[in-house]
Amino acid sequence: MAERGASGGGSGGDSLDKSITLPPDEIFRNLENAKRFAIDIGGSLTKLAYYSTVQHKVAKVRSFDHPGKDVEQDHEPPYEISVQEEITARLHFIKFENTYMEACLDFIRDHLVNTETKVIQATGGGAYKFKDLIEEKLRLKVDKEDVMTCLIKGCNFVLKNIPHEAFMYQKDSDPEFRFQTNHPNIFPYLLVNIGSGVSIVKVETEDRFEWIGGSSIGGGTFWGLGALLTKTKKFDELLQLASKGRHANVDMLVQDIYGGAHQTLGLSGNLIASSFGKSATADREFSKEDMAKSLLHMISNDIGQLACLYARLHGLDRVYFGGFFIRGHPVTMRTITYSINFFSKGEVQALFLRHEGYLGAIGAFLKGAEQDSPNQYSWGENYAASSGLMSTSPELCPTQRARSGTFDLLEMDRLERPLVNLPLLLDPSSYVPDTVDLTDDALARQYWLTCFEEALDGVVKRAVASQPESVDAAERAEKFRQKYWSKLQTLRHQPFAYGTLTVRSLLDTREHCLNEFNFPDPYSKVKQKENGLALKCFQSVTRSLDSLGWEERQLALVKGLLAGNVFDWGAKAVSDVLESDPQFGFEEAKRKLQERPWLVDSYTKWLQRLKGPPHKCALIFADNSGIDIILGVFPFVRELLFRGTEVILACNSGPALNDVTYSESLIVAEHIAAMDPIICSALREDRLLLVQTGSSSPCLDLSRLDKGLAVLVRERGADLVVIEGMGRAIHTNYHASLCCESLKLAVVKNAWLAERLGGQLFSVIFKYEAPAE
């Protein structure tokens, strides 16, 4: 059945709690610019969605009016940086208990300044009950939306836009959650929504879905029957009871009927032959725990069985479960998964969703926002503002559970450009960007969490230094520190809070937190200075390269790329050197490099390849500003162009550490073009194309790239992909398989990682791969 929340349920009753003080810094943020509201009112929880604009500072780079000559002058930066206000769109979702409804509505009304919104989309079983209150308090007309339509719209949205949204539950594994990489094609799938009843819906496309069945035995049965049997009124308490019970005391098992013979017959004696079969007697007492457990098994098994029968009938193997029966409860996820595995013999996958509780609100919002075409955009989960998944064991993280029980947040940023798969991925459906799953690898997790903790001071210092004119920079930087520190602590307890934990997600979370406190680009000045210095050396570097013989030059170019890649402020080993020795330069970096043979060394194969015909078009993902891009990448690009290979140079859309951004790359290219005829003509003739990746991460997710880039790659028939840097080629994509030649190169600037890979600090990875014929 479709109804999700249970109205009139025993959780808290109808009395509204007005005494709560809402912390406006944390919840209901950006209300002043909010427009378009949607609300999903369940039996005990309300989910509110609103769309708002966020104004935040961005560092813009701009060429001086007379470029070229200035570069030659000492101490003159190659471009100017200005901090501007930018407005971006953000979706806010907030979940709170129904008891706070009135307080929340009052708060919204008081803070809603200049909205033109006239209606609020409402869904969920409780929408009717609170209709008058909402209309009175907010003076918005309540538009009721169909529950299942909202749910499915929401489900499609999160599956498309949130990486690691879906996960499997694996009992006895650590962690118990196995996140799924986003499948490029999410359809068709089965959605089993376990509210008070069960609805089974087959979703075939964005707009086409069909109710194919259901069952009346659902969450309401567990709650209602459970309340009758145990006199326990709250759903959560019933689950608590169930987790402590032994169902074998109440259920008739196969071994109860067969005695010990089940073993010789190959039957599993623990199978339940008859739920509550042992309670068919008037003269025995049964414990609440045992009855609750038996009830939980009965209902979960039944739902799992029906889901399998429907999945089989419709030939589907992906089944997503949602509804309040599932919502974050490990107990029910465990029993449902068991049942699905049992009845489908492993053929059907039971999948759960991180943001399951928000589906209705997201869907209702999307319904109301159709004229803004939200589905045309890509969205990204904002790690800084979102609460993340609750711990599976409440004892571990009591504060988090308590907080989440009151207010839980999800914020999603609208990305300016739609993101798609890199067309050159060998198998988009099995592509996993990240090399190490830190949820899985406890040792690596401990190392990296500590590493990020230790680096935090430096990041805070850098952030303050980047805004010398700002009076509140220190204060904001401190807030950033606290926020990121607490995220790291949360992740120590619940590595899976935001999906699979990876070095990438740790880096991205830090960027999100920096942005949150208006430190959009702490390295802008460092990058500016380094770009200026490197530009000055460009011509001498190319001159010396040009003086070399062909074969010598090829090695020198690769070494240059690698040496350039040493300049990484994200790596503590390097930033320590750079902080203490401002004179550390390109030549010093070259000396730091490992001698050949490198840790991974397919240079000979690469050289052999270069002796062959030129590549048609190379796609290069650049890493750092300064020496890396100017003295490492550009000479390499120049050589490719010289060979007759077209080059697409892809840089990040937004800032991350000292990574070169797209706008910086444009200026850098402009300066180089002024010095170098090869680059100059290539730019003019569109043989060298500068594009943005769509990302603001120090790592690289080839499944979420700017659509323009993907189009270009296809148009130009790119047949070589060069990925440089630790973040893009080691932390991510180290194992990525492409359907064309690829070159992954990086300097391992982290002793621990180097050791893991079997080498030492400043080991070199040079991985050239050609697809099998």
């Binding site: 025993g10 029957l225 008739m252 067969y258 017959l265 008859s274 029906l306 089989r312 009938l313």
Partner: protein, 445 residues
């Protein structure tokens, strides 16, 4: 209950029987029993191991009742050879109930009767002259199949049931009555044939021949359907099941039985797809069965018998307990084509304290019955669709005196399949396994 309850009226006879059986033993041991002799280590065995004469007689007529041949019988020697000794029982020991079928020969000649050993006679008299045994054993007199010919013998087939937890008493009775002296083979099926095998052997000195549950079930159904129900049809269906005024139970001719979805509702539920007499598979099963209905009713209402639970259910109103589609949507949920009367959430109203207080025990019993029945219907329907079968036969003791469940199954199957599926029922709903076991004893294919 203990031994006394089931066996009480039999006790004195039992002792007599034991004595006489012991006396008659030397002449009625069959070959099979002899073969098993060492295994059984029967201390009381009165059979002289080397008794050639007795042996010879037995070999000649292994199926005869006594050592002397009866020329008066017109039946063929071949048939007689195959025929086992009386008494003819088929036993199905389920999780909750034991089902026993007993063939009472009515063509016993005076001579035969004279030769009939005391214990055998007393069993026959005891079973056929009573309708209740102890306080829990019951003979379903209305199901008795009269003038049946089995293995060349004419007689009546009796249907008896008692709770599985009284199994120890039953075995004790067997011991007290010295069943073992009759050297009959006990053909038994159901999980209990495994569970109680050792008890039969050590306490009752009886060897069980364990038979596959599903084989027996299918054999039993096909056989019983073929012999009819004392001239009436065995199989039936309901017309207008939702309308108490117009609802009619009508005979159904199962002349094309295959393929057939067989839903056996005992304590739990087994669902089989039957393609021919020997070709079937177990499709699935569910633990939400008769045991669940009765178990939950006991917990919710304090009732103590299945009949009581059903009686309460017949007086209750499940809509007070269940949340219906119309309770949520005010009417039909048109988006999904769901009628307002459909149950959206079983026991869904019981989430509310006020409604919990307003619901009577009868309402709860009714809701339990509706919940379990609808669920079985739903799973059966899905299986029928997956297996591409359109006739579904529901059997098992959950359906005994349970018209509410049968009509609901009939209606639900018809409604949700838009008339594509037909729910069929059978008069001897719970006894097919036991019948199948009896057929095995008689080696009737």
């Amino acid at each position: 209950m203990g031994a006394g309850r089931l066996g009480a009226p039999m006790e004195r006879q039992g002792r007599d029987a034991a004595t006489s059986a012991a006396a008659g033993e030397s002449v009625s041991v069959d070959a099979e029993a002899r073969r098993r002799e060492p295994l059984r280590r029967r201390a009381s065995s009165a059979v002289p191991p080397g008794s050639g004469a007795a042996e010879g007689v037995r070999r000649e007529r292994p199926g005869s009742l006594s050592g002397t041949a009866s020329a008066a019988r017109p039946r063929g020697e071949g048939l007689r050879k195959r025929r086992p000794l009386f008494p003819w029982f088929g036993l199905d020991i389920g999780g909750t109930l034991v089902k026993l079928v007993y063939f009472e020969p009515k063509d016993i000649t005076a001579e035969e009767e004279k030769e009939e050993v005391e214990s055998l006679k007393s069993i026959r008299k005891y079973l056929t002259s009573n309708v209740a045994y102890g306080s829990t054993g019951i003979r379903d007199v209305h199901l008795e199949l009269k003038d049946l010919t089995l293995c060349g013998r004419k007689g009546n087939l009796h249907f008896i049931r008692f709770p599985t937890h009284d199994m120890p008493a039953f075995i004790q009775m067997g011991k007290d009555k010295n069943f073992s002296s009759l050297h009959t083979v006990f053909c038994a099926t159901g999980g209990g044939s495994y569970k109680f095998e050792q008890d039969f052997l050590t306490i009752g000195d009886l060897q069980l021949r364990k038979l596959d549950e599903l084989d027996c079930l299918i054999k039993g159904i096909l056989y019983i359907d073929s012999v009819g129900f004392n001239g009436r049809s065995q199989c039936y269906y309901f017309e207008n099941p939702a309308d108490s005024e117009k609802c009619q139970k009508l005979p159904f001719d199962l002349k094309n039985p295959y393929p057939l979805l067989l839903v056996n509702i005992g304590s739990g539920v087994s669902i089989l797809a039957v393609y021919s007499k020997d070709n079937y598979k177990r499709v699935t099963g569910t633990s939400l069965g008769g045991g669940t209905f009765f178990g939950l009713c006991c917990l919710l209402t304090g009732c103590s018998t299945f009949e009581e639970a059903l009686e309460m259910a017949s007086r209750g109103d499940s809509t007070k307990v269940d949340k219906l589609v119309r309770d949520i949507y005010g009417g039909d949920y048109e988006r999904f084509g769901l009628p307002g009367w459909a149950v959206a959430s079983s026991f869904g109203n019981m989430m509310s304290k006020e409604k919990r207080e307003a619901a009577s025990k009868e309402d709860l019993a009714r809701a339990t019955l509706i919940t379990i029945t609808n669920n079985i219907g739903s799973i059966a329907r899905m299986c029928a669709l997956n297996e591409n079968i359109n006739q579904v036969v529901f059997v098992g003791n959950f359906l005994r005196v349970n018209t509410i469940a049968m009509r609901l199954l009939a209606y639900a199957l018809d409604y949700w399949s838009k008339g594509q599926l037909k729910a069929l029922f059978s008069e001897h709903e719970g006894y097919f396994g036991a019948v199948g076991a009896l057929l095995e004893l008689l080696k009737i294919p």
